[in-house]
Symmetry: C2
Subunit: 244 residues, 2 copies
């Protein structure tokens, strides 16, 4: 099995190396990741300039850094390697729960793989004052991979770890409330400015990704790529076509 590993924190993130190391037990691994951090880049792609690879030493693995976004890395990595069977993204420095996934480069890399028809899994771990203990999470990454590789293909799964997992749960995306808000501030020159702060401020509903992680379970959330709101569409009427 050929496994492409990427992330949004950049090629030298410890979470990327941890994920790639676990992946070597499951197949042939190649790392293609952004040359600089691309957090909160969402599903951006680079269309106004060309992309390039640079071979990069990374723990004895075959690894390349790319001057682009996470989605670019998946497009380029799957082009470069003539067949890719699985794309893994992460382990992200920070959770990607609920509506955070809209802004996530980690999840976007997995979505990009799914758009290309390749099974994909995004992994994220929380920052609670300090970076995740990736060494402690590695056995859990292996258990999640063992479980998900039995799933029917293709699949697109968003995986979120708690700091200290006690098990694994399937969970739906938490969508009840959105956590992004604008916080005004002042710079040292006295000019007003604004921060986009995405911090959860509500109690999660049972059965959601955020709830599962809050109860120390690893949350597995299957995602879809058809954004059509079928309920709305079925209500919608065809407006009378009028000639211009």
């Amino acid at each position: 099995m050929r496994i492409l590993v990427t992330n949004d924190d950049g090629i030298y993130s410890p979470g990327l190396l941890a994920l790639a190391e676990v992946a070597t037990a499951f197949g042939e691994v190649r790392v293609v990741a952004p040359d600089v951090e691309q957090s909160a880049m969402g599903h951006a792609i680079t269309i106004s300039r060309p992309l390039h690879y640079r071979a990069t030493p990374l723990g004895g693995l075959e690894a390349y850094r790319v001057n682009g976004t996470p989605a670019d890395c998946v497009a380029l990595g799957t082009h470069h390697w003539d067949r890719v069977d699985l794309v893994l993204s992460g382990i992200n420095l920070g959770s990607n729960l609920g509506n955070e996934i809209w802004h996530s480069g980690t999840v976007a890399a997995a979505k990009q793989a799914a758009l290309l028809g390749i099974p994909a899994i995004a992994f994220s771990a929380p920052i609670n004052g300090r970076e995740p203990d990736f060494e402690a999470l590695k056995p859990w990454v292996g258990r999640v991979l063992e479980a998900l590789l039995r799933e029917p293909k293709p699949f697109l799964i968003n995986v979120n770890f708690p700091a200290k997992p006690k098990g694994i749960l399937w969970a739906r995306q938490s969508v009840r409330l959105y956590e992004g808000r604008i916080v005004p501030g002042t710079d040292p020159m006295g000019r007003e400015h604004f921060w986009f702060a995405a911090t959860p401020d509500h109690e999660p509903e049972e059965g959601t990704d955020r709830w599962a992680v809050g109860h120390n379970f690893i949350a597995l959330t299957p995602l879809r790529l058809d954004l059509t709101d079928e309920a709305r569409l079925s209500q919608a009427f065809q407006l009378a076509a009028s000639a211009d």
Copy 2:
């Protein structure tokens, strides 16, 4: 009604001005748009530096440019104006059909509004060798707004124009095939590089956004923001929780 207008082509795009001018017939309009082009930025947000506004002359409208992404503009614009009833994004220079919406800053602005609970509409028009004829599209923008403002709120609608509309159709997102691909090239110094080219290369299915526009109809596609794949989730089993 307070209408916030934004886009991803930047504050001085003719499509933004056209949309804002039509909107003035429906309510009080404020423009908050990126200071530079943000095409293909997807749902990126700015979290590692502060944002700021600059008041900008724009056709007699109240307008501000922001050093951020389309989603940033919506977050900041709705924070700045204490109540926003509707967010309009566009008119984009280029279609946002099918899986293109994943990379679209235009659609991301509307999604950002929906995340904040505000009804939102994204507008896009095709480039067929030259820029869209926005003056000719303005009456159609008015007709679309009249129709959509009768919809139950909140809503999130992706609107795509053909070059010369002959009517309006509801349509689902075209998701059968993904059009992104990598095209190798060489720069003038002889170095290999790669372009991320997102060009449709298949026949659209009937009833989809791409099909409607291909038949000269304006496509209205209602979107959802819960990415949970319910079918997959209902199949999924709860893995045995194992103590660590």
